[in-house]
Amino acid sequence: MAAKEDPAVTHFREYIRINTMQPNPDYVSCTAWLRIRGEAAGGEVEVVETFPGKPVVVISFPGTRPELGTLLLNSHTDVVPVFPEHWKYEPFSAHKDSEGNIYGRGTQDMKCVGIQYLEAIHRMKKQGKTFTRTIHLTFVPDEEIGGETGMQEFVKMPEFKKLNAAFALDEGYANPTDKFSLFYGERCVWWVMVKCTGQ
């Protein structure tokens, strides 16, 4: 212990501590924090609202050939609810134990990914690397409740078209083995509402 924490880990834990739990995610704090991190990484930050109070935070890093289709790195900012009584540590504390395990709602799904994109680009920019294609990071709301008020609406907006996305990355799953899971498609969504009236 007592070893100095990597700043990327510190940023990750800060992000976990912002309570973006459905059904009342704190998008105001989240957006303000992402703006600071995005600007610190040298990105251009723009906030687009799909609906009032539903912000999509876009952090852009222009490429050397901005006319080419862009790389879209997507993540969602909201997380699912918790039953705190079943947790070893407070779910929004980002508690780190002696083995370096960081506990918190959103550590896997998927605040890790959003901040990893940002930290990776920040590091490469500091190394002086440039990219041919423009990179856009999108931090979208409401994925966990189906995305109707988030990504589904955002892709219809002129602000989305303007991004000129040609290829995208989004979340996967953890893998307990030494391998990494990769999802190239997904099942068709067909949600059914079942109403049980009882006797």
Partner: protein, 85 residues
């Protein structure tokens, strides 16, 4: 798949360079990628977490800091590969 799509080739090469062994599969649930794919934008679902139990939506969801930091290394290679396609 290999050799058919420059995006896939760049992604696969970056993973090979990082010794990331992939288990390719179809997503068991639904996520925002579907809205992108409907718009004709190819998308891959990837979170660089191996040696990690699947705890999304569960109690005691956690991620080890070394897995997290390794993920940043992996993304450096992947992002630089994809952004230079």
């Amino acid at each position: 798949e290999d050799g058919q799509c420059p995006w896939w080739d760049a992604f696969a090469k970056a993973c090979a360079d990082e010794n990331v062994c992939l288990e390719k599969t179809v997503f068991p649930a639904a996520t925002d990628s579907k809205y992108l794919r409907i718009k004709g934008i190819p998308a891959l679902g990837f979170s660089p977490m191996n040696h990690t139990p699947i705890l999304l939506h569960d109690h005691n969801e956690y991620l080890n800091e070394n897995i997290f930091l390794r993920g940043i290394d992996i993304y450096c290679t992947i992002i630089s590969g994809l952004a230079n396609v």
